[in-house]
């Protein structure tokens, strides 16, 4: 489900989140691993952007870099992450800590490892409430109980004293959401929030996120490998491959006229209820490239069914299609593949 955009037009005002030329690299024993490679996007207040890609495409590293969770001597970050006009990249930890939970929050894939197993769930919610808001213990408790009710936990008064181990996977994810939303953040980064949950619970959690987001005018970055998750619940979609954005467009536009063969391949490999039984799935053969030894051309070329000589020689830049809000990185975009000549842009090499 998508919801009406916020009152302010995301194009005109200062966006809530503006990521520019962001790169994140890890120094490994085998050389520099560029997990996120010159990624740029903007996100308006109350809007939702979906980040889609396979394991190892850099989507989780992107979310963590935006949140400021990646630090250490083996991490190199360049570019810019501006949140409400404030530069986060290189900001001191104390500054980030005042944002975390209060103005930006994150929920993770595995709610069991993200929750503290030996702390009652009520305490885990009041912890951030009392840290960021000036309220006393009983007020915090009342707020926590109402949050548990809002995220759909039955008998929240009793559950307040439960340990995470006493809850099912779906209930734990609801608790995670309650913790993340405790201080009404402006931005929620959701990293695979429904992967590993039952289909029935997946739909519930996504509905819950959608309605809470609407009530609070909160923006969301929804990271997932499943195009089904983002199809109906985002305004824009970013498709990532080998750390780069390979296609970016408003959701309906992406599904109606995708330009990048990788997006098409991802969509074609998804099993659908409408297919007859024993339909052969169009699997993407091979696997994502080794990020420490990227091929010279387009990173998707070795797996691309349309790849030609040029694709193996030079990496395509991210360019706009007919519309300024639709970007893709492909020499031979879908729909325009009429001949071997590259369309609309030429190689510089």
């Amino acid at each position: 489900m998508t919801y009406p955009p916020a009152a302010s037009d995301p194009q005109s005002a200062v966006p809530l989140l503006e990521v520019t030329e962001l790169s994140t690299s890890f120094r490994t024993g085998r050389g520099l691993l560029k997990a996120v490679d010159r990624v740029s996007f903007r996100l308006g207040r109350g809007r939702t952007i979906g980040v889609v890609g396979e394991s190892g495409s850099g989507k989780t590293v992107l979310a963590r870099t935006v949140m400021g969770l990646l630090a250490g001597s083996n991490v190199e970050k360049t570019g810019s992450v501006r949140f409400e006009g404030q530069e986060l990249l290189g900001a001191p930890n104390s500054e980030l800590r005042s944002l975390w939970g209060a103005r930006m929050a994150m929920i993770f894939q595995d709610p069991m490892t993200a929750l503290n197993p030996v702390m009652r769930i009520g305490r885990q919610i009041t912890e951030s409430l009392r840290l960021h808001l000036d309220i006393d213990r009983s007020e915090a408790r009342a707020t926590a109980v109402s949050l548990l009710a809002q995220v759909g936990i039955p008998s929240p008064e009793e559950r307040y004293g439960s340990f995470p181990g006493e809850l099912s996977g779906g209930m734990r994810q609801r608790v995670m959401i309650a913790i993340a939303l405790a201080c009404s953040p402006r931005l929620l980064l959701a990293d695979e929030p429904t992967t590993g949950l039952d289909v029935t619970v997946q739909a519930q959690i996504l509905d819950l996120l959608g309605s809470l987001q609407y009530e609070r005018n909160m923006a969301m970055v929804l990271v997932t490998h499943d195009l089904g998750v983002v199809a109906t619940r985002t305004d824009d979609i970013v498709v990532m491959y080998a750390g780069r954005i390979v296609e970016m467009a408003p959701t309906s536009r992406l599904f109606s006229s995708m330009a990048m063969p990788y997006t098409e391949a991802l969509l074609a490999s998804t099993p659908r209820l409408s297919n007859p039984s024993h339909t052969r799935l169009a699997a993407i053969e091979g696997r994502p490239p080794d990020l420490t030894a990227l091929p010279p051309g387009c990173p998707f070329a070795p797996r691309c069914r349309y790849a030609q000589d040029l694709c193996r020689r030079a990496a395509p830049p991210l360019v706009t299609a007919e519309r300024p809000d639709h970007l893709y990185a492909c020499w031979y975009p879908l729909g325009a593949r009429t001949g071997p000549a590259p369309v609309s842009h030429s190689v510089s090499s």
Binding site: M1, T2, Y3, P4, E54, S55, Q150, G152, I153, P154, S155, S168, G169, G170, M171, G196, D198, V199, T200, V201, Q202, A203, Q204, L206, D207, L208, G210, S211, Y214, E215, H225, D226, L227, G228, V229, A231, T232, R233, T251, S252, F255, A265, L266, L267, S269, T270, P271, R272, L273, N275, P276, S277, H278, T279, R280, L281, A283, I284, E285, R287
Partner: protein
């Protein structure tokens, strides 16, 4: 490959008459099914209480068929799979494989009888021993059963690795941690198939994988099924995945089957309200499918205290008094299509029509695990 035991009970054909006792839901053809499960019950003791994980499941799988078993977490679908191979000993019921009742066997007799059944698990990485080399992992069943000479075993292992799409020279000497999840699942499949089983039980084998890898593994299973003449029991929670691979689908809820039908029929005209809700929950990669709230609210009730009557009644939009009093039994409503519901959906209609009306469930609102969601705002008009 020659079988090591002198007497192979798996080849016997003088088992007790499974056909006379079982209701036979499930058997799609007239031929004797390869596997016939009759009134299977598995109880777990939890302190003083008893959890009925599987509460009377009967199904049959014909040789060469793929049966999908679908349901939510905790519905007992994995326990059913594990009980078939006797990893969990059933509390009652019979499991005839190749005409032999596995529940009546013990020890080495049981081990010999179930060589023909192999299992693959959800988490490919934790189901492989991290300290062993891939070729030794795949060869282990052969070593245990002392099949053939060392060189014959090597040849079989190499051929097996090749047929699951791994290069035996590259993959053989490595250890599982050097492989991705999808590749580890290929290794698990190779290990399961090296004993040339007749029945392969796949327990959520693709749910931990990326969509692109999931498609590769599903295609591989279809290829291997044709190549080795396998029969599959495919257990999963995602109806789209199950439909793609199965000939017939059994839907399970809280320890019992609620609907069994050929995959196409089940999709086109589901008769059980739960099946319809499961189908409407599948997230389709299509922006035009927006606007419908999650069809099922809450989670299944506890199997320690299952609801009286129909187990689904607490979440069913159609539930009436009768559902609380009288338990519906699985009844055939069309050839090969059985449903356990007092008020089945009219078959022949479109499955997706009406899915939107399932919205807010809850005539029986007092049930734990159920809640009324905040009413969702109107979908955007664009």
């Amino acid at each position: 490959m020659p079988g090591p035991p002198s007497r192979d009970p798996a080849l016997g054909s003088t088992g007790p008459g499974w056909g006379s006792t079982g209701p036979g839901w499930g058997s799609s053809g007239a031929a004797a099914p390869l596997l016939a499960v009759n009134d299977l019950r598995v109880n777990f003791r939890r302190g003083r209480r008893t959890v009925q994980a599987v509460a009377g499941v009967s199904l049959a799988i014909a040789a060469g068929e793929t049966l999908g078993l679908v349901g939510e977490s905790g519905c007992g679908k994995s326990t059913t799979g594990r009980a078939i191979v006797q990893v969990e000993r059933p509390t009652s019921g019979s499991i005839h494989f190749n005409g032999i009742d596995l529940t009546s066997l013990r020890g080495s007799e049981l081990r010999r009888a179930r060589v023909g059944i192999q299992m693959i698990f959800q988490d490919p990485i934790s189901s492989l021993n991290p300290r062993r080399r891939v070729r030794d992992i795949v060869a282990e069943p052969l070593d245990i059963w002392k099949k053939g000479s060392q060189s014959e075993r090597d040849r079989v292992v190499r051929a097996m690795l090749e047929s699951v799409g791994l290069n035996p020279d590259v993959a053989g000497p490595r250890r599982p941690r050097e492989f991705s999840g999808g590749q580890c699942q290929r290794i698990s499949i190779a290990r399961a198939l090296v004993m040339e089983p007749k029945l392969l039980i796949c327990d959520e084998v693709v749910s931990a994988l990326d969509v692109s890898v999931q498609a590769q593994i599903l295609n591989l299973l279809e290829d291997l099924k044709a190549q080795y003449g396998l029969t599959l029991l495919f257990i999963a929670h995602d109806l789209a995945v199950v439909k793609n691979i199965s000939d017939r689908v059994a839907v399970m809820y809280l320890g019992k089957l609620c609907e069994v039908a050929p995959a196409e029929v089940l999709y086109r005209s589901p008769a059980h309200h739960y099946t319809q809700a499961l189908m409407a929950s599948v997230l389709q990669p299509d922006p035009s499918s927006a606007g419908q709230p999650a069809p099922l609210q809450g989670e299944p009730p506890s199997p320690i205290h299952p609801p009286t009557g129909c187990r689904f009644r607490t979440r069913c939009p159609r539930a009436e008094e009768r559902c609380a009093i009288e338990e519906p039994v699985l009844q055939e409503i069309a050839p090969g299509h059985a449903v356990a519901c007092h008020f089945p959906l009219p078959t022949g209609g479109s499955s997706l029509a009406g899915a939107g009306q399932m919205g807010q469930v809850g005539q029986m609102g007092e049930v734990p695990g159920q809640y009324t969601p905040p009413s969702p705002p109107a979908p955007r008009q664009s």
